[in-house]
Symmetry: C2
Subunit: 427 residues, 2 copies
């Protein structure tokens, strides 16, 4: 296929791994997918959503508003509810007057939080610019970076968040080579990180932010931190961790993004971000050109869900459900995986991040992956979650296995199949 006449970005953009994973699913109909980041099918709030819709549509002015264009920035009511939620989570209690950093005027509602990530990258990065990411990180973010010609550099993760010594060493290295001038952002998936399920501590992420800021002088410009809190509301055990929004002085360097799709219903795609200037204005202009605003009816459903308490009630149900599914998966992993395999226990989110012995390759072209597929089970090869960082080797011995979309029976059976493959392959 001739493509030389496409734009630079058009020529560069590769097939995203998610398409490959979806086509695998279609070509192997009996397969148990532990790959997809789908949300739990059984608990999808269909009764609740219908009730919300009936409420909205019986109130005719509200119904008409839902069916009319909204604004590019998004419904003020939903922005207000959303910023209040974030503040309440951060402060541990609700407040009458929100601090400026939580102002609805700083928020853009987007078509899923994926769109927020895209807009920020588009507004901030040219080809050749550098974004620091976690090792491993969210693979669809890496796809945006690949498409836009952004160089990603990986920072190893500890059980509490990015490894500060490695981050400093990386920044020093970039300063030495002069590449620091291309560093625009640090991207952190700070809650139940996709794929590792690690939650960064406030201390760790605040220290990372402070460290990055120290290099602004060498960079000659601000270096932003994008805190992607997509999974924050999916905590099913332990205590919430405050976001970087609580760090004094962080606001002018921090982009905080999140979503309602995973915690409520992924078919209702509404995400959000809080942005400092000039990113706020720039992303708004870009969104004006992308779609001049997220579908208004979706925003109304969520406004209504939050203000009536339906959203929080559903969240409780979801937490119970994911806690149970995670327990089934954890038990099955212990039972079936060889003793040489390891994983951190997730306290939220949708994933287990399983490390095989380092000598066992589990990448997309590996005999391990093929054997798993033959045994009618598949997973996200961990290698897909590592940036193409020329300064380090990419690990190939990890797997992301999800308890989100699969049924309880399929989780147990899928892990059993995977365990049988692993026992054969991990020698």
């Amino acid at each position: 296929m001739k493509t030389s006449f496409l734009s630079e970005i058009g020529r560069r953009t590769e097939e995203p791994p998610i398409s490959w994973l979806m086509s695998l699913r279609l070509s192997h109909p009996r397969v148990i997918s532990l790959a997809a980041g789908f949300t739990d099918q059984e608990t999808l709030p269909h009764t609740e959503t219908l009730a919300l819709l009936e409420d909205i549509f019986h109130d005719i002015p509200r119904a008409k508003a839902a069916l009319q264009y909204g604004s590019t920035q998004g419904d003020l009511e939903l922005r207000d509810l959303t910023t209040r939620r974030i503040h309440t989570a951060d402060a541990g209690k609700s407040a009458k007057k929100l601090p400026e950093v939580y102002s609805p005027g700083r928020m853009i509602l987007s078509h899923g939080s994926q769109q927020s990530l895209y807009l920020v990258c588009e507004a901030l990065c040219d080809p050749g610019d550098i974004v620091l990411v976690e090792d491993p990180t969210y693979f669809v973010f890496l796809a945006i970076a690949q498409s836009r010609g952004i160089d990603c550099r990986g920072i190893p993760l500890t059980s509490e968040g990015p490894d500060l010594a490695s981050l400093e060493a990386k920044l020093e290295g970039l300063k030495r080579t002069g590449e620091i001038k291309r560093v625009k952002m640090l991207y952190l998936v700070s809650y139940f990180q996709n794929p590792s399920s690690i939650t960064a501590s406030l201390e760790k992420k605040a220290a990372a932010m402070k460290l990055v800021k120290k290099y602004e002088r060498a960079a000659g410009h601000p270096i932003f931190v994008l805190e992607d809190a997509a999974y924050r509301e999916l905590r099913f055990s332990g205590q919430d961790v405050p976001s970087l929004l609580t760090v004094p002085g962080a606001a002018d360097r921090l982009i905080y993004s999140g979503t309602f799709s995973k915690p409520f219903a992924s078919g209702i795609r509404v995400g959000f971000s809080l942005l400092p200037e000039p990113l706020l204005t720039t992303c708004l202009r870009l969104k004006g050109n992308h779609d001049f605003g997220t579908s208004h009816i979706l925003q109304q459903i969520l406004s209504r869900a939050i203000s009536t308490g339906v959203y929080d009630k559903h969240l409780e149900l979801l937490h119970d459900r994911y806690r149970a599914k995670a327990a089934v998966m954890g038990t099955a992993l212990v039972e079936h995986m060889p003793a040489s395999c390891q994983w951190p226990e997730p306290h939220g989110g949708l994933y287990f991040w399983v490390s095989l012995p380092e000598t066992t390759q589990a990448g997309r072209t590996s005999p391990f992956f093929k054997a798993a597929l033959k045994a009618d089970v598949f997973y996200v090869p961990g290698e897909l979650c590592y940036a193409d960082d020329p300064t380090r080797e990419k690990p190939h011995h990890e797997m992301r296995v999800s308890f989100g979309g699969a049924s309880i029976g399929d989780i147990a059976e899928g892990v059993k199949r995977l365990g049988a493959v692993a026992k054969k392959m991990c020698r």
Copy 2:
């Protein structure tokens, strides 16, 4: 505000005129807006939409599908229904087996047709590339072009579509200067064009396409035609015109886009495009990174609306409504505007395109616009609908006035106010 660290596109992207128009509205609450391209408020199908939603949500597997992620390309059922609709409109009758050019596999469902326009520009054009547009054209398309650094060149419109002699002269000129190598696309809003309300004849648009193709050898690459049929289903008098999809051999150069938002409910943002390779694959990859798929519940509402006949029934109602509103506006224009003003009679869409005498400036900084605002009425200054084409002067004596969103009373009163201003200003 310092912006030097933003991306090239971030720095370049200007405030879109639509934001200015919306802020005018907010700062002048009593104003009658004949500017907005909003759809009619009274006929918004709230009862119908609720009934559709109840149907969907009482069918539990369907409800769950609506609440789960769909695919990046969009729901196959809706793509199938949509391609059939387009084919039926083009062929004048339905067919069991669709010709390949109408294949659902060639269609992407987008978050409003605006997103389709954005994806095509992103896939095809680098900064400095040239897109030929109509004089005047859809101003939000011009905003995409401005943002992405695309040079637009204007082709005058006749009452039947683009002026072929001017198009040929423009292409010859571009060939002479060597700029033809940067020409990527011709953008046509072919049905009730926004803003002029002109519908291009099949002959005229087919001839334009053929003419453009003649210059591919000089360009050294394909030159695409984007037929934006956003208003096609809003015809309230006369006969539909077949699209360029009916032209033999056109398929591999033609992008055909349209929307369900304006004909049904603008709060339910779903648009679509039929694309040739390699644009199809490229736009799909880009959309995967933008949002990995349009909200699924919106697609389900439209599938259901179309398959049950609710959509077509609503369309009839809408046609009656817009016919009546256009008649009120037409009568008011005749009654109140000075005899020196002219406009073509719209047969569909949402707009009258009013030309004042050429010496009367009606642009955004003109005394005319200010006087109108003082008289509590405003419109889209026609100058906003002209590309920044350095090869010709931009006209400033036109206005786009919409009968879409305003009530019948406001249409009559708004035009009366505008007429009073015009009588004072057109000397």
